[in-house]
Amino acid sequence: MPLTISEDLKAQLSLLTTQNASVLQEFCRLANQYYRQEINPKIYNSASNKLGVQPSQVEDAVRALVFLLIHCTKAKASKLEVEELATSLNFTKDAVKVLADAYTNNEGDIKEYMKSMGVQVPHYNNLEWRFDILAGSRALHHIAEPLITLQLFLDHSSGIQQQNKEDGSGGKCEKILLQTDPNNLVHMTNVLEEALQEARTHHSRRVQQYLK
């Protein structure tokens, strides 16, 4: 089935169809930065000056290009289908090649960006523990209460943003301080061991087989 796009999207891409391949290459680079959320609004201003259009038109064109590439990725289009679609939109021959290359080279990034648009729940990263004896507090002196302090590390960002952090902090990693007592620690361990057992049951394996 040939790839199709809406009339609105075609209209937004009209700015790009009149450009030559090198300009389109720049736009593809901007689209790439868009996935990584690295775009600086000043770039729109300088591009609009060079092309003689409004900055908002440049921004719309970048967004339209991003949407086009996502649309092709969702439809699992082949390189040929993308080229056919680009040709039907009146892109020049060289521009078609640039577009198709942008699609295939950045497939991984596009997929990561799409994942970040989905349902986001904090994800487990690590758990550190410490066993303390509480000897006293302002409200109560001379006690000996066993306490287990836990530090839970949770990731909030998607994969692509984690890759971009150069300081090695691995994206937005939240550190949560918690505590529990020995009874609740044993209870929690037993309940989560039951959870692990559930994945090893015949029933879970059948569900997994069905999805393969």
Binding site: T73, K74, K111, M114, K115, S116, M117, G118, V119, V121, P122, H123, Y124, N126, L127, E128, W129, F131, S137, R138, A139, L140, H141, H142, I143, E145, P146, I148, T149, L150, L152, L154, I176, L177, L178, Q179, T180, D181, P182, N184, L185, V186, H187, M188, T189, V191, L192, E193, A195, L196, E198, A199, S204, V207, Q208, L211, K212
Partner: protein
């Protein structure tokens, strides 16, 4: 035991049989006991006029005495000698000590809940899911099982804590928890050898 001059003078008044009759003393004693046992949010007792001013004063002082005794971990002999210093008759001293003893652990429980501490885990729920598809595109089949874990917390303004993890990550978490459990059990055996 350190007590302020206001508390000391109120206790002297409460123990003086010529100034505070037995029925008033009993009313104060039972009101203090009821307040210690009352849960959070329950209304504390209110004295009735015309003696309400004196009764409130003595009630506050006796409550302070009870709380400071438990807070400081003072033995009953220390409390007894404190009350004897305030010229309390032996029968009133004995009754007060009996009440203090009977409510000792309740008072300790309430005092231990005061103060700053991180959210306390009291329970945990889990769900095992296999993702099929999402609006973000096809789900990576290799991901397999995804666990949704919810920790129920006491003392947290944000409600329960929810997060996801893979099978490998949950195994890692359970391993860490088992390490902590072994450490606790080892030290418990050292303190209370069987």
């Amino acid at each position: 035991m350190e007590l302020s001059p206001e508390v000391s003078s109120a206790l002297r008044l409460l123990g003086d049989a010529s100034k505070t009759d037995n029925s008033t003393y009993q009313a104060v004693l039972s009101a203090v006991s009821a307040d210690i046992v009352a849960g959070d949010g329950q209304q504390v007792s209110q004295p009735q006029p015309p003696t309400s001013g004196v009764v409130s004063y003595c009630h506050a002082a006796l409550t302070t005495l009870f709380l400071e005794s438990v807070r400081g971990g003072h033995s009953t002999s220390v409390v007894t000698s404190t009350l004897e210093d305030f010229m309390w008759p032996p029968d009133r001293v004995n009754e007060a000590i009996k009440k203090l003893d009977s409510h000792w652990s309740d008072t300790q429980t309430r005092l231990s809940s005061l103060g700053a501490f991180p959210p306390h885990i009291v329970d945990v729920d889990w769900q095992l899911k296999y993702e099929v598809r999402s609006s973000g595109g096809e789900v990576d089949k290799a991901r397999g099982a995804v666990y949704l874990v919810r920790l129920h917390l006491d003392g947290s303004a944000n409600g329960p804590l929810t997060f996801t993890c893979s099978l490998a990550q949950l195994t890692h978490m359970v391993t860490r928890l088992k390490q902590a459990t072994r450490a606790v059990q080892k030290h418990t055996l050292v303190i209370h050898p069987v």
